[in-house]
């Protein structure tokens, strides 16, 4: 059974079709990247996959459940199995790093203080931020915020993690650290990962499969080598400016 199956997905806003007949399958444990130009519909697709937006038509199966037809309360049951890392981290700025990480845990499970402490220190150690429990988001750099965002997303031990532009706006070293974290997380937890990005070196380094969106349609869906070798003009044009900066696995 696939972790995510998207069938004939259409998303429209008044007078504009953002996504047009999207079909996509993500197998369990894979890292699948969705790339494309700004405005191609990548983040919209991510929000649809996590139930933050409702599709105009089509099916989005998480496991065997079509989330397009669920109520908000039913969706919450599914969301407990999903983690979402936001482009700008979206940490709660009135809460400390500690409270951000346990936010979902304390609201959905009954844990002792010692158990919560253990979850926080474990998650922070994984993202290389041990000892930053008492800091507030305003005291963290952009890269640190993204790492805390990842720690928060992993705190509920999700089976699927979605990453929205995980390396955008970061320096190359921090971007590399985030790439390593995504791969290490997959190795350690066997979690399914969906990454939305336009940063080609990262995409080709971490992905098992790559799908490219252009004007709301998927123009290619294949392994990094297949995408790299594609003769599709739109794909060629997208990859051309950064040829040499990445290597297909």
């Amino acid at each position: 059974m696939s972790a995510i199956t998207v069938r004939n997905l259409v998303y429209e806003v008044p007078e504009k079709r953002i996504l047009d007949n999207i079909n996509l399958t993500v197998e369990s444990g894979q890292i699948v990247s969705i790339m494309g130009q700004s405005g191609s519909g990548k983040t919209t697709l991510l929000k649809l996959l996590t139930g933050l937006l409702r599709p105009t038509s089509g099916e989005i199966l998480i496991g065997e459940t079509d989330i397009a037809s669920l109520t908000e309360r039913q969706l919450d049951e599914i969301r407990l199995r999903l983690g979402l890392v936001f482009q700008y981290a979206a940490l709660f700025d009135s809460l400390s790093v500690y409270d951000n990480i346990i936010f979902g845990v304390v609201r959905h499970t009954k844990r002792t203080r010692a158990e919560l402490d253990a979850i926080v220190s474990e998650r922070l150690a994984e993202v290389g931020l041990s000892g930053s429990e008492t800091l507030f988001p305003s005291q963290l750099s952009g890269g640190m915020q993204k790492r805390v965002g990842l720690a928060r997303a992993l705190a509920m031990q999700p089976s699927i993690v979605f990453y929205d532009e995980p390396t955008s706006g970061l320096d190359p070293i921090t971007g590399h650290t985030i790439d390593e974290l995504i791969m290490a997380t997959r190795e350690r937890t066997k979690v399914t990962s969906v990454v939305v990005s336009h940063h080609l070196p990262s995409i080709f380094k971490i992905s098992d499969r790559i799908a490219m969106l252009d004007k709301g349609r998927i123009v290619i869906d294949g392994t990094p080598a297949e995408v790299n070798a594609s003769q599709e003009p739109v794909v060629q044009a997208f990859l051309a400016p950064e040829r040499g900066s990445f290597e297909a696995k």
Partner: protein, 282 residues
């Protein structure tokens, strides 16, 4: 060629192709205003229903409510007290000057207390609370929307209505009446001294208050405060949640929240005054 041109000129034009005239502009403005009003009413009614449902199900965390009560109360009390005390002083100066000149100084205390408990305290306190607490709520939730913090809540299966809206609305409903009690007291103290300074004997002021004012005047004001608190809480949350467009959008939501709250406070005050004055005992 000329036939084709003549034929084209004779074809009826769509409304968008017609020249923009003052009539068309006014019509479009009315339609937009009417549409905005319907959207506002629909969204506010829906949010009210969901908030009541969350509170009734016991979904709201007591800690979140207590934190909001402390924040909203502490943030607003000085604004409310300054506004009502200053109004009490000014109102007393005018009333005392007029009343003493025509020999009615024994009515000053009762008139001021009656006005304050029934109207000035809740109305001015409500407006000050809308400006301080309502604006803060709309700005905070609006910022959370544009920085995706509200999406983060939903992604973690936490209802924004349960976590953000319900505690703020209930805190406003509880805190505004409490603030209005302080506002009434501070306004009357200001009136007492200002009236005294303008020829009204302190004992006459107190006697007049005790003669003309009833407990029902205080409760009428507090009932108004509960309604105003609900209006401020729900409208500020609704405006915050519908924020779009970054920092400019947050500014727009904050401004429209204050404007809508003040307008709704004044409009609802008309109906509340009619209803509360019509009750038996007055």
């Amino acid at each position: 060629m000329s036939d084709a041109l003549t034929k084209k000129a004779a074809e009826p034009k769509s409304i968008e192709e017609l020249p923009i005239t003052p009539v068309k502009r006014t019509g479009a403005g009315i339609i937009t205003l009417w549409r905005s009003l319907l959207v506002f009413l629909g969204e506010t009614a829906s949010l009210t229903g969901r908030t009541i449902s969350e509170v009734a199900r016991g979904g709201m965390a007591v800690g979140d409510l207590v934190r909001q009560m402390a924040l909203l109360g502490a943030d607003s009390i000085w604004v409310v007290l300054v506004v009502t005390t200053a109004t009490g002083i000014v109102f007393a100066v005018y009333t005392a000057t007029l009343a003493t000149s025509i020999g009615f100084s024994k009515f000053v205390g009762g008139t001021l207390a009656f006005s304050f408990l029934n109207e000035l305290g809740p109305l001015l306190g409500g407006v000050a609370f809308a400006a301080r607490a309502g604006a803060a709520i709309a700005a905070e939730i609006g910022t959370m929307v544009v920085t995706e913090q509200v999406d983060a809540l939903r992604a973690m299966a936490v209802s924004p209505v349960r976590y953000l809206v319900a505690p703020r609305v209930v805190a406003c409903i509880i805190m505004l009446p409490l603030l209005i009690v302080f506002a009434d007291v501070s306004g009357l103290i200001g009136s007492y001294y200002a009236a005294g300074a303008n020829g009204v004997a302190h004992q006459d002021f107190v006697d007049s208050v005790l003669t003309f004012v009833r407990v029902s005047d205080l409760t009428s004001g507090l009932i108004k405060a509960v309604v105003f608190g609900f209006i401020i809480g729900i409208v500020a949350c609704q405006q915050g949640l519908r924020t779009t467009g970054g920092a400019t959008g947050v500014g727009r939501s904050t401004t429209s929240s204050v404007v809508l709250c003040v307008l709704l406070i004044f409009v609802s005050d008309i109906f509340l005054a009619e209803m509360l004055m019509a009750k038996p005992g007055r």
